[in-house]
Symmetry: C2
Subunit: 407 residues, 2 copies
Amino acid sequence: MATTDSTTRNLRRRNRSAVLRELLRNGETTRGQLAGALSLSPATVTNVIADLMAEGLAHETGSLPSDGGRPTTTLSIRPEGAFFIGADVGEQGVTVEVLDLALMQRSKVFRDVSSRSVGPTELSEALYAAIDEAVLAAGSPANIYGVGLGMPGIVESSTELDEARTITIYAQSLNWPPTRLDAIYGRADIPIFADNGAKTLATAEAWFGAAKDVTDGVVALLGRGIGLGIISDGRLLQGTASSAGEWGHTKVTLGGPLCNCGSRGCLEAYVGGGGIARRWREAGADPSANEELALTELLAAVSRGDAVATRVLDESVEILGLGLSNLVNLMNPERIVLGGWAGLQLASTHLAEIADATRGFSLKRPAAQFDLVPSKIGRDGIALGAALLAVEKLVETPLVKILAASE
Amino acid sequence: MATTDSTTRNLRRRNRSAVLRELLRNGETTRGQLAGALSLSPATVTNVIADLMAEGLAHETGSLPSDGGRPTTTLSIRPEGAFFIGADVGEQGVTVEVLDLALMQRSKVFRDVSSRSVGPTELSEALYAAIDEAVLAAGSPANIYGVGLGMPGIVESSTELDEARTITIYAQSLNWPPTRLDAIYGRADIPIFADNGAKTLATAEAWFGAAKDVTDGVVALLGRGIGLGIISDGRLLQGTASSAGEWGHTKVTLGGPLCNCGSRGCLEAYVGGGGIARRWREAGADPSANEELALTELLAAVSRGDAVATRVLDESVEILGLGLSNLVNLMNPERIVLGGWAGLQLASTHLAEIADATRGFSLKRPAAQFDLVPSKIGRDGIALGAALLAVEKLVETPLVKILAASE
DNA sequence: CGAGTTACGGTAAGTCGTAAATTAACCCTT
DNA sequence: AAGGGTTAATTTACGACTTACCGTAACTCG
């Protein structure tokens, strides 16, 4: 089946990856801590750290006070050791961020793509412009190690026999034809990565956010549409063509309203931000055309005691709970993270109700084993997670071959 | 987070595991093939094979004809190198199999547990008796390396802080209270393992059956109830308390008939073997009390053109397709395997219809990427997969510490 | 029967990780 | 202010593994 990877060569690379990943996730630490956390010997950590310092990715930042004894020197990522670009291709436009290796935001640019039916060409132009602007604002660093895109829809990654990795985007919600990633953005000097936005959000939450240290969890992205990233055994599920996690068009009922995917009874048609607004409108209300605002208005009406709004919300909570319960039974997660603008709004006012509904539909054992929390990273999560695609590449592959300088 | 495992010590163990696993899965091979398949050097393979031969797990069985040159010696598992017991705790009774290391069945015993509401104590007695009988029939081998149980319901495996692994069974369908595994079967000399039966079936299908070489797939077990094993990235999903895969009580519709889990709209209530029979009965028919026979009768009636039966079946196909489509969207499998007595019956007559229904409810891309096939292993799969739990343990941990005989 | 061919096993070299010993850096006491 | 105590980090020594290379075994073909 798979290859073994158990060669002495790969040992060093794997240890480098483990140490670097730990450094990125935990900020400042010490050699001793690393050795303990990764159950490596101090000597190995010293060696790997030396490599990383030679690569310019880490440095010693200071020392901890000691009461007798050599003080522990603290280690950190060298922020300017590498830069990454993350882009969130969203409903209203493109958000581009430049991050340094410490994963701090160096610049951020939003570019409106006004028309709802923006095509690949327009997006491509906006993306090039936004990236140029963001890079400039970040001080035009030379060592940009990759660009990551968080896209709506299915992002298929197929590795052909000739090893050329092709990424194709099937953005149904944008009415795009299948589009190759390199048609949107491609530069010879910088590798480009892409994944579905919900999955990049899940990656970000798993690195720093509400899903940190969670080995089995799901991150739901409720915006106009619905997305999902599933973390199982510490890894993001990909599936055979990396389209795993398409939760929005799973069915919560036989029949039901027509969804724009062409099917009926899709979860997204009920409890996506768009679906909630539509259902409130059909119940006789007249909310803002802006769906995010509409949800705010709905929640305000509910808190005023408005009966119609309450019914629409209760129904939403019930259906969302049903959808989540299916995930609870199937995945047995320890945590469910609710993100996206709709998810955050709902979580801020009705988190407990959603959790109760979910538990009500779930089997008892798994129902008792998860908790439901709001996203911790917020709206920059999609772009941040997209940038992490490039970071993970750097973590896995040492770019600089270290030479023994002495002798 | 996790430890790294990247020590030189573990290298040998990992290579041993890889080679042994490959041997088990592929039957007879040669050193060269192993080296190629696992991308290990010939020397490494030679060393590992020498270890395995010293452990009594492998041996040279012959040689291939060569057209000039030293003939390739063929290697095989030594069947009597180890024995394993697998048990299928099913609806009507307990099936116990004894397997040798070549994973050939050496004996098989079925023990009726007539009453439907059999408790842990009765089951335990039946299990002890059946195992004793099966071991005797297999020639009472001394080197039995483990007993695996495929159980209905949730099998929770929790590793406590003191490393004592506790397995608890929540068999709702048997109306059991939470039961600790060691209360059912426990012998000091033989380790005991357990998992949900659908998951052990999935393991068996992944090793030899319809899911061999499938890295992302789902194996559905349709019997009286419904179970599922999800294979993702080559691994069986477990979840935080190893109850992942509980598909039977995911909801296919809001409301719907009451399920014996206490909830409404569960998939199992519609298209479990029991659910289908019940729905046919409610439509006015009078099938056998034996649900397996009832399904056969239903399918016969459909082939005769019986309108009521056809409606019940069409509905079943539709709902099963809907349930499967949710898995297709979520997991993006390359293959769906249909097993269990109900699954096999349905597959034998209506496989294409089920596939069509599933594709109809799924998103277009993932719909085009899976195929639907019947289980290849058949009814012994649950017990076989259960035995594999013990086999995997042997694969992972070399029991014999090899000593350098010379010097 | 000998030459050619192929597979396997052994040997030497290089690499990596661990453990132990050593050095480095600092505090505290006298 | 000097020396002992203490802890962190590095160096050294060693063992284990993989790899590359070479020799040998075993068989076929001419």
